[in-house]
């Protein structure tokens, strides 16, 4: 260890790996993983999301899953929450749609209106 700068570099790198446990206010994606969701292909959607995040090096995004919310016909359902913005819920999210949601909504902040099934008021 030669300098504070070197330590800071290691710290930044290590922090990335810990984002998941530390971050309470980052970008969150929640995938519906009830039996209905899985039956509708949520596993594939989840895999696509993870794959896309890795490709784009978006380690600060938190991905969790949730159970059935009752809108079974809309599955797979995902929620996307950006910091300081209301939660947006998308329905019938195929792997391909999931990738587009990450590109447009998560990265660029543009909500893809036609796929939205619910949006919380702020």
């Amino acid at each position: 260890m030669k300098s504070l700068e070197e330590l800071a570099r290691i710290r930044e790198q290590a922090k990335q790996n810990l984002q998941l446990r530390e971050s309470r206010d980052g970008i969150k994606i929640v995938v519906g993983m009830g039996t209905c969701g899985i039956a509708a292909g949520a596993r594939e959607t989840m895999n696509a999301i993870l794959d896309e995040l890795i490709k784009r090096n978006l380690s600060q995004v938190i991905v969790t899953q949730t159970g059935c919310v009752g809108l079974c016909e809309q599955e797979p359902i995902i929620d996307v929450t950006l910091p300081d913005q209301p939660k947006v819920t998308y329905g019938k999210v195929s792997p391909d749609k999931a990738r587009q949601i990450i590109a447009n909504h998560v990265v660029n902040g543009n909500i893809i209106g036609e796929w939205v099934i619910r949006s919380d008021k702020q």
Partner: protein
Amino acid sequence: MAFYRAHVLVCGGTPCELGGCRAVKDTLLEEVNRLGLSSEIRVLETGCLGPCDQGPVIIVYPEGIMYARLQPGDVKEIVEQHLLKGRVVNRLVYHEKKEEAKSVVTFESSDYFGLQERIVLRNCGRINPESIEEYIAHDGYRALGKCLTEMEPAAVVQVVKDSGLRGRGGAGFPTGLKWSFTAKTDSNQKYIVCNADEGEPGTFKDRLILEGDPHSIIEGMAIAGYAVGANKGYIYIRGEYKLSIERLQHAIRQARELGLLGTNIFGSDFAFDIEVRSGAGAYVCGEETALIESIEGSRGEPRYKPPFPGVSGIWGKPTVVNNVETLANIAPIILNGAAWFRGFGTEKCPGTKVFTMTGDINNEGLIEVPMGITLRQIVYGVGGGIPGGLGFKMAQTGGTSGGCLPKEFLDLPMDYDTLAEAGSALGSGALLIMDDSHCIVDIVRCFMKFFKHESCGKCTPCREGTTRLYELVTKITEGKATNEDIALLTELSRVMQTSALCGLGQAAPNPLVTCLKYFEEEFGAHLNGYCPTGVCTMPVANVKVG
């Protein structure tokens, strides 16, 4: 770079290991693999999370849901329900043992953790103790870097002095002052020793820090080394703590690889290295001069003082001996400043204290709370009260060498000075809670047996005294003692407190003296051949009814 959507932390502290956390972790890995989740879910072992009686414990992040008392058979359900489908398995969630228990408890939100202030245990249960990177991610080694690149050694000593930090091993001696004695000596060789010979019955805080956050000790020692001008450190760990020894050795290797130990640390001309030494089963080695004898490879018998180790320690060289918990406080104090540290606790005892709660209490385990918190807050707040609806009889503070306090003292603030006034001690932070089904004389006999066994035999007051105390107390439990025996016990206690060579002999009578004072009636009953709780076997002829 690997990206994981969930991290599962498995508590790998010793108590959880006893509960079978290895099997839980193995099953977890199997199940995660079986469902093809291994690329998205990271399973890792961490240090003790605290509620030891609830082990094995795991935490699932990002939600921070804590599961307790897991059996390998429960794991499948957690993986299938929670990790795959996101449904929290309520049946297995950590429950606080209180009347109005909440059902779902996250790591941060429970009362058990809510009343706590974690400085020393900042990383325990949050990081992987075998990863130096995770320690660094939590500002690890930044304090050492700050000292070496921006501060003069004297300024480091001054910050620690200003913080008011007092030694957490038991005696409560101001740490900054201790450092300044050694800093002032003129010697070509000085040493830093971390006292990790945790032997006080009921104490296991140091083990948790050693197992859960080993790098915080290494960093604290290196800072101490820079402050006083020492380039060599020893960590003396009791031989029974196998996992602690392994974790520290591993951490030292990592620190050497990154150049955080060795020469020219942070480009300065400061060099520091650390060696682990292990004890071999002797309580007295927790006494600093006995510990030094043991590091030198001798019988762990205390030395006469003065000279104190700060001037003449290992091989006659100036040596700072600090407790594990004390050292874990150093880096945060350097980073945040003395004023920040004084924001916690009381004026004379700033900061927090780690307590280990044992005996008749719902939440057995370990907590970190601000100094000055009352016994009642600990027992009935964080501790969750006494099981089985029984009453509080007494708490012994500071381990077996501390005093016993009856319920009249429940509102006493817990710090070094107020407890000393009450005839007890804060000591190592061990808290033994006893409900009213236990006999006070029987438990005193247990304390006395301990000292009789652990006296090293070097000085007469302790060698003879501990044996006689045990014999006399045994006589009381057998219903054969008289008032003269009580007078003899009192006299012998006074002799030991004033004339024993080291803290062991001086403190051995503490529990007896306090119990004689606060539980006079119960001792009196035994003299009359009657044990109120029915624990002691009394000669039948003497039994009085009720």
